[in-house]
Symmetry: none
Subunit: 227 residues, 2 copies
DNA sequence: TATTTTTGTAATAAAACTGTAACAGTTTTG
DNA sequence: CAAAACTGTTACAGTTTTATTACAAAAATA
């Protein structure tokens, strides 16, 4: 599975553990250790799912959840609340404020994974699907193969990730910065111009002689997968 | 989000902080550090929302708020009052004098942002919407595409921004100076006649053969998106 | 470890966009 | 009606942004 997950959690041990395991499953994981940054990062990177601690240093997970669910633009991002308490009433409260699921610490990783997958399948089929298409472009996440007009195409790792990201939100324009955080990951130090080069490599790979460029350049804004 | 926000606040640190964060969110921000200039600037630039300090060197925020709310032309601009005091009675007072919301310092940026967005959604849907139409003209901020009569149109960055600005307040006339500060940004050094040229480019792009010009020239005043 | 693949950057080329000035045309004013 | 004020249009040089290429370093693979 190839989804962007954001974790907002102040206990470093949990972050490390979950981050490690989710990465191994193929997820792209970013994290924040307090509410303020978490909220900002979620809006910036538009993750496919959020794991959030109930209690947080400054802005609580409950607050962030409420804020996100109030906003049309973000309310569809599924949120799983993590909490130390196992009270039934908290669960009710969590669901009331709009959280999509609720899991008590300590939890087993397989349990967490199952819930994540269930939510993603429900809320963002394109993220959970094994095979996604856009026009005559097809990407198979199980075999990690990409096809254009039924012909297989070879892509390097970065180009593959780039395409996988684009295809989840076709036609939407992403800035170089957004692409860097979503495809390369957080706190990585790469020139934004580097995106251009990978865009070129991706174009070279997926475009067919004589057909329209599948990647649209939007001057002063970024790129989008389009046709 | 693409809205023009004006801040009237004498504490430079707050201005800097808020300005920086709002810019990153995509807002276009201008600011004044005293009441006199603030009042003038608000009338001049017609922002989509105003953040105003309760106490100000000369003309107090309370006064400005009252003045604006008394004037039909400006009373619909949402105003958020910033104050150091957290008294409940002040909140009542703020709302009484016409402020639309009230936030006490120190405040967290996410909280401010949430309130700003909530207000904008309520008062100026066209600022918060992803897709806006004016007649058979449509602008999609996600894909950054513009359509006239369902046919896609190519616009350069400046023309796109210009149209995006016009469409938020259709029919309203903007002077060249207003357009410069709102579309180009503050403290930029561009001849006001340059606006003419971009207006021409925009016209050329969006107008259809045989139909009325969508941009109206108002002699000695400026331009408006009209029909 | 040697070989191959992938990656990021910098340099350069190409393309798109911008602002200005000049002049033409139009409307208003005296 | 002539002068003045304002707007429309055009061309173009300069600037900014994007495309392309080559290459060295890093990473993966054999």
């Amino acid at each position: 599975m190839n989804a962007n997950i954001h974790i907002v959690e102040d206990e470093q041990s949990i972050v490390t553990l979950v981050e490690y395991n989710l990465s191994k499953e193929g997820f792209k994981v970013n994290s924040s250790t307090n509410g303020e940054n978490g909220f900002k990062a979620i809006k910036d990177t538009n993750p496919d799912l959020v794991l959030m601690d109930w209690m947080l240093p400054d802005l609580s997970g409950v607050e962030i959840c409420k804020l996100l669910k109030k906003n049309d633009k973000y309310k569809n991002i599924p949120i799983i609340m993590l909490t130390a308490k196992g009270e039934e009433e908290d669960k009710v409260k969590a669901l009331n404020i709009g959280a999509d699921d609720y899991i008590t610490k300590p939890f087993s990783f397989p349990e967490l994974l199952a819930r994540i997958k269930a939510l993603l399948r429900r809320s963002k089929p394109s993220v959970a699907e094994d095979i996604i298409s856009f026009g005559d472009l097809k990407i198979d996440r199980i075999t990690r193969k990409v096809y254009r007009a039924n012909k297989q195409i070879d892509l390097g790792p970065t180009e593959y990730n780039l395409l996988d990201f684009f295809i989840k939100n076709p036609k939407r324009v992403y800035s170089r910065e957004q692409l860097l955080t979503n495809v390369w990951g957080d706190n990585i130090n790469v020139e934004s111009r580097t995106v251009d080069v990978h865009i070129r490599r991706l174009r070279q790979a997926i475009n067919l002689e004589g057909t329209k460029d599948l990647i649209r350049t939007v001057r002063a804004a970024g790129y989008s997968l389009d046709n």
